[in-house]
Amino acid sequence: MSVAMPGKDRSTPTVGPPVAVPYRPTHARLGWRAGVVAAAGVVALAAAPFFLAPYATTTLTRMLVFALLAASLDLLVGIAGLPSLGHAAYFGVGAYAAGWVAAHGTPAAPVPLLIAAAAGALMAAAAGWVAVRSSGVFFLMLTLALAEVIQQLAESWEPVTGGSNGMYGIPAVTAAGEALTNVAYLHWYVLLWFLVGLLVLWSLSASPFGATLRGIRDNEPRMRAIGFPPFRYKLAAFVAAGAVAGLAGGLLAAQQRLVTPADLGFTTSALALLAVVIGGSGTIWGPCLGAALVILVRDSLAPSLGGRGPLVLGLVFIVVVYALPRGIAGLRRSRRERQPLSKAGERDE
């Protein structure tokens, strides 16, 4: 269906016929440079156990688990614009599910993780169904309230979750029959599933589904006018983020072999949020850097300050909010956007 257009009068004289440049969505274009950086990162992470001391590798593994949680939160906060202050609940539920399956069902490799992701998704669906109706600060408060209820459940449902002592003595994950207790094997196991989780998140964010979420975040009335039902998309985003958080919880159970109500608590959610803000929301990979920084501060710096860890964290909170309005990733992106747009040319990555 094309229509002959009568003469166009527009102020900007166009040189020759206007070049109809084929359309390619801006955010999905991954320049080759970003691809190379990502590949290098994965190789470095995989090689880590060879040249890092055992404890450093364990710390790195813990960073990966937390990074996946932060990345899943970023799908909600950065892409869908839903500020959740209770995302650790689905992380914890996944961890408990994985731990329970490993102890009572089978610790064979993928089973506990898949159950964890399913548990996270299920809990997120139930909570999301209520939470997603509200927006802004009410959503923030509702997610906080739901997370506190879930945490209280973990604390008082003693027979299953082990109550306030937590679920301890989770059997090690077995891959092809052999228990992964060696630090390096565990690291690779976590790295593999971290990449799977990250890939899922990245593909969601770069796909039309992600574009829709961004649209709903920026201009919900317009999206409704086009025909996107916002409630269903927000709920889908909440469940997807809950599933990946559950997966991260499964990795926590595999790595630390202990799950306590504190893992579901407000502090964990706030730290994950800090990681997203430090890393730069909306980029999925940004919060992973943020998570590494947060774990570094919490686990290595804090103890050496003689118990004044929370003071350090408090100061980091304040500094980050002022100094890095758009996080580490933001630094890179704002440089790119300041480039003048060529008339009809491609914006280079």
């Binding site: 257009m5 109809a20 359309y23 801006t26 964010s205 589904f209 006018a225 086009i226």
Partner: protein, 265 residues
Amino acid sequence: MSDVLRCVGVRRAFGALHAVDGVDLAVAQGARHALIGPNGAGKSTLLRLIAGGMRFTGGRIWFDGRDVTGTPEARRAQLGIGQTFQHSSLFRTLTAADNVALAVQRRRGRSWLPVPHRPAWAARVDEMLTLVGIEDRAHHLVETLSYAECRQLEVAVALAAEPRVLLLDEPAAGMSAASTAHLLDLLRGLPADITLIFVEHDLDLVFGLATDVTVLHLGRVLMSGTPADVQASAEVQRAYLGTGRRGDLFGTERTTGGEHVASST
């Protein structure tokens, strides 16, 4: 010609104010139906009621023979009711092409895979941009577009969703004469199977495009009919100007007889 859209006794009150007070409206398939009337007549409210952005306080609405009174806005859009907004509401941080792509994506299937380049969609996007005449601004951020170009983009986004009825809320508001003329050509060029319902104050555009006109006043239908009937009706002028002189309202002296054709509901 069957009616593609029918409103019966549509009512919307804000407390004591009856913005829309029992409107009956029938829009034929393929019609270019204009809604005119002085400010505060309830034109925009009626449009939003049809689009589903606002809840009814009374009456029913049928679209394609289906009662859509209770259907939410997003579902009505999927059924084929497209709309542009009086204050243009676009995604300022995205490029023009991205804005249209969202609508195309909603229509052509929503996949979860990050396949960056979709030839079928890209062609559709370019087609829409070319149709409204801003194809060379495809990759510019909406922030950098001029006001007129934004209005054109709004139409492109609405059309990209392949609506069967397109609601336009004062499309020519704040446009220069040249841009308005351009918009007129654009709207005239739209395929016949798309029905247009538009609210507009620029009477040149109204009478240059409309096949039917409904005049609203204080939330009620004052008169519905062909453009000629409306121009001839003294009652419409009184509603607009409060005086009987026909000339200054419609600029040129019409040759139609002076007799008063009143057909108010």
